[in-house]
């Protein structure tokens, strides 16, 4: 039984230090994200189960074809959501830059990039608000589905039920992320991290932000592409 470890074994797991060389907050964030991934996984698998046990489903190209301020009757399938997705991915890029700047103890760059990330998050949420509002005006809501199946038959309300629930849950995550980033920004401006000598909090906020973006990729695929 290997209970007496000898001096030759690697010391990573032998106690007195973190085996991953990270402090507990980051470890917790990783486990939290794993947990959250299971939440979203459960939602998306539920969605898949119901969708594939239902005869027919609306065509996303028909449902999501509008654009703000576009002339009546303009057909722009998935253009708006592509822009939303682009915004969110760009905000991930600025988040990376903020984390990188934090590692270099560059307060000014952290501030700039955090502001861009926050703007990206708010822009995404605004787009989502417009889209929800637009769909609501077309008669779509929880329990109401004005859209027909791709084959022209009447559609189950579960199309809109899942759309609003899951994109809403994701939007709530983005909203939380924006709040977290705003707190990070305030702490940066108050020199909290300079005093601590590290910008680790930004890294943790970054992990969360990237996770939320990654989830969107799956949500986007499931609701708009498939």
């Amino acid at each position: 039984m290997s209970t007496t470890t000898t001096a030759t074994t690697p010391k990573l797991w032998s106690g007195g230090k973190s085996p991953f060389n990270v402090e507990y907050g980051k470890l917790m964030m990783w486990y939290f994200l794993m947990s959250d991934a299971f939440t979203f996984g459960a939602f998306l698998i539920s969605y898949g189960t119901i969708r594939f046990s239902t005869n027919g489903w609306p065509d996303p190209n028909v449902v999501f074809k509008s654009f703000p301020f576009a002339p009546e009757g303009m057909n722009a399938p998935l253009v708006f959501v592509s822009i939303m997705t682009f915004i969110l991915i760009i905000s991930s890029v600025t988040m990376v830059l903020a984390v990188k700047a934090g590692q270099n103890m560059d307060k000014k760059a952290v501030t700039t990039n955090l502001i861009w990330t926050i703007i990206g998050g708010i822009a995404f949420l605004s787009c989502q608000a417009w889209e929800w509002n637009h769909l609501h005006h077309e008669g779509a809501w929880w329990g109401m589905n004005p859209f027909l199946n791709a084959d022209g038959s009447a559609s189950s309300t579960n199309f809109t039920n899942y759309f609003f629930t899951i994109t809403g849950f994701h939007g709530f995550h983005v909203f939380s992320g924006v709040i977290i980033n705003i707190v990070m920004l305030i702490m940066t401006l108050m020199d909290k991290f300079e005093q601590r000598g590290h910008y680790l909090m930004i890294e943790k906020a970054g992990l969360y932000w990237h996770f939320v973006d990654l989830v969107w990729v799956f949500v986007f695929t499931c609701f708009y592409l498939i």
Binding site: M1, S2, T3, T4, T5, W13, S14, G15, G16, K17, S18, P19, F20, N21, V22, E23, Y24, G25, L27, M28, Y31, F32, M34, S35, D36, F38, T39, F40, G41, A42, F43, S46, T49, I50, S53, T54, Q103, W142, G143, M144, S156, T157, N158, N161, Y162, T165, F169, R196, G197, H198, L200
Partner: protein, 605 residues
């Protein structure tokens, strides 16, 4: 950037800096509020979990006494019932609605509040920092939040019992459509809303706690405490936390969809439903079975969330009181790991008769029966640990042995139930009730009692009374078998669970006397728990005082702390660990603590 610098950057009470001698700085002034109410000391939080869990255990146990009264004496009236339950026991006779509400709340409370929060909440908090050699949890603040979310969940659940339409009454599994439609039953109205809110708060509590336990075990072990030197309690609590962190979120998703079905007109779980007095519902396209999948994806790991901490503590207590090393330490860790993995792969064995594809069913049968392998490894290792041991029959040891007995008895019937063909006959019968009460309910209660009796001296610096403890043990173990053993026969004869009154059924009338017997024993066992409760609270204030640090002559680190450890646990430096936790009877020495350096002439193990 140097991560090392970061690791040690903000050291406070919960420092990672295991070897800093900060402890003398920790005698900060504490008020009643910071010490006993919003405490951030893991030991106090553990006691808060324990005592809240005990309150719930009494309430949940009382509920079972009330519905056993109905099952044992379906024709009798008890006027005193009306005076405590009011309209729920009109004329001294529990109404069907009240009966279902009692069964449901009994299940919910015992499974989640007592055996999850009360068990792993208590012992993960208490033992993890003490046994791995840490001053506190990774985040004491989140730890405090974890308790207070549990407290909030408790308050909401408690308040659901006082709403006019009564608490939820559709079974602890909360299957829709009963749980999704307010019109389905009185308990499905406000009571169900409060039930979901309470459970959502509970999920948050469990998540905050679980993340903390994982991070603490991985990151904050003292120098020399490699993973393979951890006591088995810590391994078990670690896997419990992983199970909780990965399975509760799925339940949360299921509940969110349920909330939308209840309140926002969606049809996630609803399709083609006709409610008496309401008519046909417009909902279509949903699937009630979907909820069962989401629920049991938590529900099955939940069984192991309840069982693993008990297994871990029993392993430790058996080894200490047999004065022998635990048999097959790595096999024990391996089987805990195997159980944790398999826990996620067997949920559909709760759903064999839902119309599940029989081929899929056979896959789940295989995976379910595979659990017998690690379970049997554990059982044989416990038995071989006892084998030729120099056994000390302390109350903790008796309850640990009782756990092994119950785990064997209940585990064997699990093999029956894991077969999808047998399950057609046995599902939803008293056989299932007997099985899970023995293997998960009572067994884990025994694990919890074992833990309390064993670690009480560390918690309060005093001993519990042995005579009361022995009476408590013998009545409880005999009672547990007398209550649940006959239920196997009832279940095999087809007696369904959750029925209100069997006397009107020609096929089940014959069990009337047996039911009365079971009810009688249930009341005696419930009453016997007051031996424990009295013993516990009396001993906190008046128990025999501890005079030495290590009353059980155990190896683990918690017994190197002062009798009344302060916040920070060790005075001065945290001790370094030089060996595993199970050097009992080695080289002619009765026990060698983990802090003792390995001698030059020591034999290898």
């Amino acid at each position: 950037m140097s991560n090392e610098a970061v690791l040690h950057a903000h050291s406070d009470v919960a420092t990672h800096d295991a070897h800093g001698d900060h402890s003398h700085e920790h005698h900060h002034h504490e008020t009643f509020i910071t010490k006993y109410v919003f405490s951030q000391d893991h030991k106090m939080i553990a006691k808060q979990f324990l005592i809240t869990g005990m309150v719930w255990a009494v309430l949940g146990g009382l509920m079972s006494v009330l519905f056993r009264l109905q099952l044992g004496y379906p024709d009798a009236t008890f006027p005193w019932l009306e005076s405590i339950l009011g309209k729920w026991a009109k004329g001294g006779h529990i109404t069907p609605e009240a009966y279902y509400a009692l069964v449901t709340t009994h299940g919910t409370v015992l499974v989640f509040f007592v055996l999850t929060a009360g068990l792993s909440g208590t012992f993960a908090n208490f033992l993890i920092p003490l046994q791995i050699g840490a001053r506190d949890m990774a985040s004491p603040f989140m730890n405090m939040l974890s308790y207070w979310f549990f407290f909030a969940a408790s308050i909401v659940m408690l308040s659901s019992m006082f709403v006019e339409t009564g608490p939820f009454s559709g079974g602890w599994t909360a299957y829709p459509p009963l749980s999704a439609l307010g019109d389905a039953s009185p308990g499905s109205k406000t009571g169900m809303d409060l039930w979901i809110v309470s459970m959502a708060l509970f999920v948050v509590s469990s998540l905050l706690g679980g993340l903390n336990y994982i991070a603490t075990v991985l990151n904050m072990r003292t120098k020399g405490m490699s993973m393979t030197r951890l006591p088995l309690t810590i391994w078990a609590l670690f896997f419990t936390a992983v199970l909780g962190v990965l399975s509760f979120p799925v339940l949360l998703s299921g509940f969110i969809l349920l909330i939308f079905d209840r309140n926002f007109g969606t049809s996630f779980y609803l399709s083609d439903i006709f409610v008496n007095g309401v008519g046909a519902l417009p909902n279509e396209g949903g699937s009630a079975i979907l909820f069962q999948h989401l629920f049991w994806f938590l529900g099955h790991p939940e069984v192991y969330i309840i069982l693993l901490p008990a297994m871990g503590m029993v392993s430790e207590i058996l080894s200490v009181n047999s004065r022998k090393p635990i048999f097959g330490y790595m096999a024990m860790v391996g089987s805990l790991f195997a159980i944790a993995i398999l826990a996620f792969l067997v949920w559909a064995h709760h759903m064999f008769v839902t119309g599940l594809n029989p081929f899929l069913g056979s896959v789940f049968v295989l995976l379910t029966l595979l659990i017998a392998v690690p379970s049997a490894i554990k059982v044989f290792n416990w038995l071989t640990t006892l084998w030729r041991g120099n056994i000390r029959f302390t109350p903790g040891m008796l309850f640990a042995i009782g756990f092994v007995s119950l785990f064997i008895s209940g585990g064997l019937t699990g093999i029956w139930l894991g077969n999808s063909a047998l399950d057609i006959h046995l599902h939803d019968s008293y056989f299932v009730v007997a099985h899970f009460h023995i293997v998960m309910g009572v067994a884990s209660m025994f694990g919890m009692f074992a833990g309390i009796y064993h670690w009480f001296p560390k918690m309060y610096g005093r001993y519990m009374n042995n005579t009361l403890a022995y009476m408590h043990f013998w009545i409880t173990i005999a009672g547990a078998y007398l209550i649940f053993w006959p239920m196997h026969y009832q279940g095999l004869a087809g007696m369904p669970r959750r029925y209100y009154d069997f006397s009107i059924w020609e096929s089940f009338k014959q069990f009337q006397d047996l039911n009365r017997f079971i009810s009688l024993v249930a009341m005696i066992v419930f009453a016997a728990q007051f031996f424990f409760l009295f013993n516990f609270f009396y001993s906190i204030f008046k128990g025999r005082k501890l005079t030495n640090l290590n009353p059980w002559e155990a190896n683990t680190l918690e017994w190197t702390t002062p009798i009344h450890p302060g916040h920070g646990n060790w005075v001065g430096e945290i001790p370094e660990v030089h060996r595993w936790a199970y050097d009992y009877g080695k080289d002619g020495k009765d026990f060698i603590q983990q802090t003792t350096p390995v001698g030059a002439d020591e034999s290898h193990h």
